[in-house]
Amino acid sequence: MRGSLFESPAWCRVQCQRHCSQTPHKKEVPCVFGRPPQLPITKIIRLSAALLACHRRRSTPTAALSLPPRVCSLPPESLSCRLSTIYSWVRKTKLCSVDAAMATTKPRLSSFSRNLSAVSSSQTPGVKCGPNGTMFVSSGIADLDRYFEILGGGFPLGSLVMVMEDAEAPHHMLLLRNFMSQGLVHGQPLLYASPSKDPRGFLGTLPSPASLKHDKSRDRESEQEKGLRIAWQYKKYMGENQPNFDSHRVTHHYSGADNKQDYCNEFDFRKPLERHYFTRQRVNCVGIQHSKNLAALQEHCASFLAQHQRNDGSSALAGRIAIQSLCAPQCEHSNMDWEMLSFIKSLKGMVRSSNAVVVITFPPSLLSLSSTKRWQHMADTLLSVAAIPDEDKELAKLLSGYQDMVGLLNVQKVARLNTQVPLILEATTFSIKLQKRRFLVLECLNQAPVDGSSGSSYGTSGVFLQLSLTQKCYIEQLRMVSKEMDR
């Protein structure tokens, strides 16, 4: 929760009471406070009791209470009984959502433990806790993390991510670069396998995190754009009250109050990653072009994953494996279908019990249909990228912002570890844009304004037959969407 930082609890209480009195109908009151280290816990407890009493009197539907990390790390028995009383009152009345770190000490608080996304594990940088006992690392693309917000914000540790390439355009490399850079920035070891002659050379093309100044200015201007034009008095409170899952371009919501490292960085493709990030200890590059079979790669993966074994409760450093174009034709194993499937199966088995994420990209056009389906079933998270033709008037009519798009990204499957509920989100297709040719941005597809004069639906079959097979599925989705809108 975002809110104001107060130095003195008394002042905080006064402010909150003022908020309560002035905003009786507000859904959420931003009574979040951080405390300076020297403030004793008893004062915190008194303040929180006062806050809750205040909200109870006002009968506001929800209030927010955040306890600082130092309190949360105490074992439950040592917490003052007054804090436990407050806590049990919270549970009973369900008026407050308690900060996620507290939720971990009392595992029975179920209904609000879903709002875990704002808390990052304080011990390990770049790793977040999510629902169902899974931990997450960032994908390196803020928009994709935001899309997976409901899931936990990123790729779950222990999962296998597959990206289906488009033979016409190398957009999967953008995703791979962001993924690898994010891991290196967080100090997470990386194993990179590629069919190229010099895998190590690829590291020189990895992007570097954008400078902080640019981040903040982007956020501020986009916030101002999104801000409603309302009377100045309300705007003061509205800005603080906005629930974080509604605001869009706020990348700093991922970072903790005093974390120096963001969970997800913005990467600048024009600035290469500094060389000290990819030392030999952190990055291991493997070439798969010349090896007879996948046994060598499997051994590399096995030894890498053995270093990241998951032990219950420990927070070992997360690891990342990136395998590019696994079935590329220049590799000798590319026609050994069952060999590759067996490799993926054993890799998946190994990664499930480790703190690592594996990203594999492959061109599905080079595999048989049935093999492609097998690969798709093995993936936990399945993404696919497609190219967009440069000058396509029909597409320009269908989509707004067509000129800036370089490709499309489709999320076909999302990892469901430890749960049986499928994740069905409203939008699954995104446009890939390179803002200012530096920053990778994913946007939901928006239909261009309907041409009032025509009045007919966009989907005439003649138009769609011209497009290649890879783009057809995305255009089908667009057609369905336009039909829905026409209805």
Partner: protein, 258 residues
């Protein structure tokens, strides 16, 4: 069984009758799904029903897809504690995630033969009263094929041997396979044989209009040779929609959901 809330799937499978004898014993169930709609929730539902306190089933779960912790977490939310059941010897888990049969042709089947022997030994090792109520679950068959390096003949042999167990020991065999893998093949022998062997065929597929948040897909249950209360038997097809949640799965007829 009568006390529990029975949903449409239970009725379609014939689980709404008396729980002794177990309606699925001696029968083969095949669950088919695709990339868009996963059918594993049906498997979880069957595990929960088999391990209900009123029945005395023993489950031998051969897992190729997910580790024990995954199923444990899911079933716990559904109301079934797998750890306790494992300690009570009602849930026997075979972790086959890392099974890989060696490359040479002649011993490619070796791994599967050993697996079958292990299952047989487990069943024979059960105490007398529990031997009649065994359920063998395999998740999933496409990974068994991968483990056998593509030797679908060996996989078929293995399945036939397991099928023989259903008549020998009256156990039930429940398997999961991905139908869309075989739909593009010229001669999809494996899936056709499995569909022929199966007494009950459960197919999970998306709606023709695509995926939605309210309805996750549709289930088609083909129950061959059901015996109704009136004594007749025949094929019965059920079709209904479903929505999967953490604690339960809702089944409803198309259009009947408010």
């Amino acid at each position: 069984m009568e006390n529990q809330n029975l949903n449409l799937l239970d009725r379609a499978l014939g689980l709404d009758g008396p729980s002794e004898p177990w309606p699925l014993s001696g029968r083969v169930v095949l669950i088919e799904d695709c990339v868009e709609t996963s059918g594993s929730f049906v498997l979880h539902q069957l595990v929960k029903r088999s391990l209900s306190p009123t029945s005395s089933n023993v489950i031998i779960f051969v897992a190729f897809a997910n580790p024990f912790s995954h199923y444990d977490r899911i079933l716990r939310k559904l109301g079934c504690n797998l750890v306790t059941q494992r300690d009570n010897k009602r849930f026997i888990f075979f972790d086959m995630l890392m099974l890989r049969c060696p490359d040479e042709g002649k011993s490619s089947e070796g791994g599967l033969v050993l697996l079958y022997e292990k299952i047989l030994k487990t069943i024979c090792g059960l105490p007398g009263d529990k031997k009649d109520y065994v359920t063998i679950m395999i998740d999933d068959i496409s990974l068994v094929e991968v483990a056998a390096n593509g030797g679908s003949d060996y996989v078929l042999d293995f399945l036939h041997y397991c099928h023989a167990l259903t008549s020998e020991f009256d156990c039930s065999l429940i398997t999961l396979n991905h139908e869309d893998i075989y739909s593009s093949m010229e001669r999809p022998t494996l899936i056709l044989q499995m569909e022929y062997l199966a007494d009950i065929l459960i197919k999970a597929e998306p709606l023709s209009t695509g995926l939605a948040t309210d309805v996750h897909g549709q289930l088609t249950v083909l129950n061959k040779g059901t015996s109704h209360r009136l004594g007749r038997s025949g094929n019965k097809i059920h079709n209904f929609h479903y929505k999967v949640k953490e604690n339960t799965v809702e089944y409803f007829y198309p259009g009947s959901r408010v």
